[in-house]
Symmetry: C2
C-alpha cells in the first residue's frame, strides 16, 4: 500500500506531563510543498481525535486525505506557497506511538500501561518534530477540534514558536457538556466486556462499545438542522431492513451505522480512551501565571505570542460552541495580536470544517493570503 | 407501601394501531381534586416516557410526585378547582399493562411478544379511561414531552374531546436528531448481552445498557448552558474517585452516574424500548386528510378541535427544539383556536418543565385562570 508517512524520533525518554515517560517514541508525519531556504513558510496542522497524518493526497500516497479539498496546489492552504506538515497525534494509532504499540521496556503492547496522556504532551511532541525539521518558527500553526486545544497548549508552552495561528472549532478548556459526551463514549467502550481492561484482540474486540462511541460522536459532530433537511423521516426500503427486534428503520439510523462500521476496526479503542480523556483534561487556564488575576483562561491565553490569528467557529456546533471560539478570539486579542473572528453559519455543526470547504476555505485562504 | 393508584380496565380485546390486540389490559391512574357535578372540570395529564401516574402527593400516597410543585391546592394546576387525572402510559411498567406484565393468553410475561406500540394506542387507551370516568369532554388535556405527542394523537383521533390543550416541549413528529439519540439509547440496551432479546431477569439484567441509555437521556434532557454554570470543571474529591482505569473524575460525570443508578432498576428495559420506538414512529402528519394539501403536519393539526391552547417551549431544548413548538402553535392557530405561544429561556433544556416551575407554573396558571 502506498504510504507517504515519515517518522520522527522523539527525545528518549520523552517526559509526560502527568508523570512517566516514553522510551523510543516517534511521530508519523507527512508533508506537502517545499520548505523555503529561509525556512519561514511552514504550516503545521494539529488534528482532531481520529485523523491520520494523511491530510491530503501526495506523490507517495494518492489516496484522498481527510482535508483533501483544503490542502494542495492552488487550494486554500496553497502548497505552491506553503510547506505543510501534518502529524499523527502522539497517543494515536496511525503511525505515532500510542497504547497499541510495543513498549520497548517490556516487549509487550503498552495497552493501559501507556502513561497518562495530556494534550500538552501532544503539543510538546509536535514542537520537537517541527524543531527537528529545522524550523525555528512556524509561519502558521493550525489546529482544529482536539487539535485546536493542542495548538493552544503548543503556543502557550512555546511562546514565539509561530507567527500566526488558525484556531478552528475548538475550546480553551473542556466544558461539562463535552465532558459528559466523551465520558459516555468512554463508558460504552469500557462496559463492553470485550474491552477487557484494554486486553482485547481481533477475535475479542469491543465492537459494540466502539460502535456506540462513534455513533454518539457523529450525532454530536453534526447538527439537528442539517439532518432535518438531509434525512427528515425517510425510511429504509423494506429489503434494507434487518429482521431482528428493534432493527434500524430510518435513514438517519443507517447513516450512523455506516459511520460506525467504517470506524470501529480502524481506530484502536485504547487510543480512543486516552485521547478522549486528554480532551476532558484540557484546560488552558492551568497555564496562567500564578499571580493575582492568574488562573483564568484569559490570563493563560495572554501568554501566547503570535502576530496574527484567525479564529473560526460554527453556529450549529454543539460540542465546541461558538461562545468558546469567541473566548479564544478575545483572549488572543488581549495579547495584542491582530485577530480575525469568523462565525460561520454552516449547517454541519462541529464537522463543518471537514465538509463545508467553501466557507472554511474562503476564510482560511483570505487569512493566509494576507500573511 | 402507600399507593394511590386505581386501575381502569380497557376494552378487551384492545386493538393496537400497528396490528395485534391486548386482552385484559388496564391503566393505572391517580386523581386529585373533585369532579364537578357537571363533570366539566377535568384535566388529564399525559406523561413523558418514564413517569408514573404519581404526578403529586395525595391522601393515599404522601410521596412527592414527579410534578409535585405544579399540581395541588393553590398550585398552578389548582386542585381546589380542577379534577386532575394522570395515568401511567400504556406500555409502561408503573401499573399500566406493558411488556413486563403477564400475557393472559400464555401465562408468561409478554416481553417482546407485546404488540408493537404506537402513541396512538397510548392516546386511545387514555381516552377510554377518561370516558370510563364519565367525562365526555375534558376541560384541558395536558401533555409534555412524549406525552405531548400522545396528546396531539388524542386530539386528532377524538375531535371535540377537550375544550383546551396545553402542549409542553413536544413534537408533531419525531425528527432525525431525536430519532438518532433514541435509536442509540435502544442500541445500548440491545447490545447488552444481558438484554438477551428481552429475556433478562434480576440476576441477569441489562444494567450497562440501561445506564448508557439513561445517561444519554439526561445529557439531551438538560442543556450545556445550565451545566457550564452548575458543574464547570469541578472535580470529585480524591476519596470520591474509584480506582479503576478511566474512572469518573468530574462532577458532571458523577451527576450522570447518580441519575443512571436511580433509573436502571426502576424502569423495565423492554418498556423503555417500546416507548422509545413509539416516539420515533410518531408523526401527526399520518393523520392528515387524504386530499390535496393533506399529508402535512399542518393539515393534520387542522383536524384538532379545541377552543384554546397554550404551547410552551424552551430555547435550550435540543431534543424537542423550539421550532417544533412554534409549528404546533401555528398549526393549532390554523384551526381557529385561540393559541398562546410561550417561549421560555429556562436554562434547563428539555427538562425545564419538571424543574423550572416558576416559569412554567406562571404560564400554566395564567392560561388555566382564563379558562
Amino acid at each position: 500500500m502506498p504510504d507517504a508517512r515519515r517518522y520522527f524520533d522523539l527525545s528518549s525518554p520523552f517526559p509526560m506531563k502527568r508523570g512517566g515517560e516514553l522510551v523510543g517514541a516517534r511521530l508519523a508525519y507527512e508533508t506537502w510543498g517545499t520548505l523555503s531556504a529561509a525556512r519561514d513558510n511552514a504550516i503545521f496542522i494539529l488534528t482532531g481525535l481520529s485523523p491520520s497524518a494523511h491530510a491530503a493526497s501526495n506523490a507517495n500516497d494518492p489516496a484522498l486525505g481527510w482535508w483533501e479539498d483544503m490542502l494542495g496546489p492552488g487550494k486554500p492552504i496553497d502548497t505552491d506557497r506553503w510547506f505543510v506538515i501534518c502529524a499523527n497525534t502522539l497517543g494515536s494509532c496511525k503511525g505515532s506511538t500510542g497504547p497499541a504499540d510495543i513498549n520497548p521496556l517490556t516487549g509487550e503492547p503498552y495497552r493501559l500501561d501507556f502513561p497518562e496522556l495530556a494534550l500538552e504532551d501532544v503539543a510538546n511532541a509536535s514542537h520537537e518534530l517541527v524543531r527537528g525539521l529545522g524550523i525555528d518558527k512556524l509561519a502558521c500553526l493550525v489546529g482544529n477540534s482536539m487539535g485546536g486545544m493542542s495548538a493552544l497548549a503548543y503556543l502557550v508552552l512555546h511562546p514565539g514558536s509561530a507567527r500566526a495561528h488558525i484556531s478552528i472549532s475548538t475550546a480553551p478548556q473542556a466544558q461539562p457538556f463535552a465532558i459528559a459526551i466523551r465520558s459516555l463514549q468512554r463508558e460504552a467502550i469500557r462496559l463492553d466486556s470485550n474491552w477487557n481492561n484494554g486486553h482485547y484482540n481481533d477475535a475479542h474486540y469491543p465492537e459494540a462499545g466502539m460502535s456506540i462511541a462513534r455513533k454518539l460522536g457523529v450525532i454530536t459532530y453534526r447538527s439537528a438542522m442539517e439532518w432535518d433537511g438531509r434525512f427528515a423521516r425517510i425510511r429504509l426500503d423494506s429489503e434494507q431492513r434487518e429482521e431482528e427486534p428493534f432493527a434500524v428503520e430510518f435513514q438517519v439510523e443507517s447513516y450512523l451505522a455506516a459511520h460506525a462500521r467504517r470506524f470501529v476496526r480502524s481506530f484502536d479503542p485504547n487510543s480512543y480512551l486516552y485521547l478522549s480523556r486528554a480532551s476532558d483534561w484540557f484546560d488552558i487556564a492551568e497555564h496562567a501565571p500564578k499571580e493575582p488575576g492568574g488562573g483564568s483562561v484569559e490570563a493563560a491565553l495572554k501568554r501566547i505570542d503570535v502576530e496574527r490569528a484567525l479564529v473560526i467557529g460554527v453556529e450549529t456546533d454543539i460540542l465546541f460552541p461558538l461562545a468558546q471560539q469567541e473566548q479564544i478570539a478575545e483572549g488572543l486579542r488581549g495579547t495584542g495580536a491582530e485577530v480575525d473572528f469568523v462565525a460561520l453559519d454552516s449547517p454541519q455543526g462541529h464537522d463543518a470544517f471537514l465538509v463545508d470547504i467553501p466557507r472554511f476555505g474562503a476564510a482560511i485562504a483570505r487569512f493566509l493570503a494576507a500573511l
